[in-house]
């Protein structure tokens, strides 16, 4: 049953108790994301230090289990990485959701990769892909800090 793959334990658990929820103190980069069709929204806050390392990251927002879990897992994995590593992880994740069977990056350890792969269940739910990717797109925007609001329709 596909539903089991979508709503794995870890997704449900992160969805219910999302990590890094709130507004990081002293953030210096942020962006908002929005899914106009369903009303989901997310706001990602980032503290990038001088070495361009993500010192802190958090998010605010509301959304379905998938989107909350995705944001929760994402923030957990990105914290402590520098911006190039972060970008590689993001790209790898989006590629996996889109088409790749697996994650390819060499930055995350196996445990972390397993966590991320839990989100691969959405591949069978095209309308839910946006839920899984919204926070990631918003993170990209925050890092570029171009101030542009991200919508999953673009």
């Amino acid at each position: 049953m596909k539903l089991k793959e979508l709503y794995q334990e870890i997704i449900l658990e992160h969805g219910k108790n999302p990590r890094n929820l709130g507004k990081t103190e002293n953030f210096n980069k942020d962006a908002k994301g929005n899914n106009p069709l369903c009303g989901d929204n997310v706001h990602v806050y980032l503290k990038l230090n001088d070495q361009r390392k993500v010192e802190d990251i958090s998010f605010e927002g509301s959304g379905c289990a998938i989107s909350m879990a995705s944001a929760s897992i994402m923030t957990g994995l990105i914290k402590g990485k520098n911006d190039n590593e972060a970008k590689e992880i993001i790209e790898d994740f989006l590629g996996m959701i889109k088409e790749n069977p697996e994650l390819k990056n060499k930055i995350l350890n196996e445990d972390d990769k397993t966590k991320l792969m839990c989100l691969s269940g959405v591949k069978q739910y095209p309308m839910r892909v946006k839920c899984a990717t919204l926070s990631w797109h918003t993170l990209v925007s925050a890092m570029e800090n171009d101030g542009k609001e991200i919508s999953t329709e673009s």
């Binding site: 539903l3 709503y7 009303g39 989901d40 379905c64 289990a65 739910y125 309308m127």
Partner: protein
Amino acid sequence: MNIDKIKKEFPIFDEKIHNTDLVYLDSANSSQKPKVVLDRINDFYSKQFSNVGRSVHYLAVAATNLYENTRSSVQKYINAKDKNEIVFTKGATEALNLVANTLGQSILEENDEVLITELEHHSNYVPWHFLRKSKNIKIKFAEINEDGDIPIENIEKEITDKTKVIAITHLSNVTGAVLPIKEITQLAHSKGIIVVVDGCQGGPHLKLDMQELDCDFYAISCHKMYGPTGLGVLYGKKKWLEQLPPYQGGGGMINEVKKDGISYGDLPNKYEAGTMATAQVIAFDQSIKFLESIGIEKIIEHEKELIEYGQEILQKNNSVKLIGSPKERGGVLSFTIEGVHPHDIATILDETGVAIRAGHHCCQILHDKLGIPASARASLGVYNTKDDLDKLNEGINNCKKIFDLK
């Protein structure tokens, strides 16, 4: 009313979804189509097709007559006084844009107020917002009460001597609240205010009687009334349609065209520029015949029974919270489950063939007011049964199981 028999008229219910029967509870979004409508489309294209109104050959004459027949059928169905008060559009959204735009061109002035409600669909807000931007009019919102109703007092309260238009839904596509249009119109007209009704949900669920309601404009969405996509109807009182300027320009809507000036045609041509949705208009006649063959009173009664049953079982279900408890509710049951996001509900229900909608249903103002980003919505059509609502309830229980709720 024999629902089994009615359901058999809809080919879609022969299909399997995820290997189970389809439980279609998304009719407020768009209704399914009976076979007579599909057959009419097919027959028209394959045996009678021609453009209407423009050629004098056999097919063109026949098509023009069929096209105008639908106009007469709609007139009768909604009890409009005059056939020329029926304008075909591409949808209710276009109908509402037409009204806002032409009122904006000719009647509304800076600082005039348009009064809408917190229940309005974006299609009955954004067109007025355009005028807020271009003409600096004001938009006011009549507030819902705790039942998700708009009592007439809440409208009266917002009326000032600047109020020129009240634009309001007949039946909320979220709370299902039926608004007292007739009374609102009386109030409005006593103050010289124009009443524009968003009849998208009124169309399929309520008895339509324009002369009784007495509103100035009424917008209908044909695809929600068992008709084809790409078609809407704007009812407008003749005095307005004659007085207001045209909306789109092109072939068919003109009287005389010269290099230095253009005069426009009479009703209904004036508002039907370019080649219209000929086949859809012609097929919509069958949708009306279908509705008439059952009788709107019977449909209302049937849906009322379902709504009551649905309310009952959902109210009994722990963690489920119904949105609104309006005095009169038509066709729609929106709800949330504490701890499960509406999108997750919809996905999980879908797995057992139960199609509902999750989101803000194009009513972001209302959801903001309710303090929720989204809701789940089960909406009814003439083909639904209590069994469908039981399956909805089972699906909800399945959500709760997956999310480990009581």
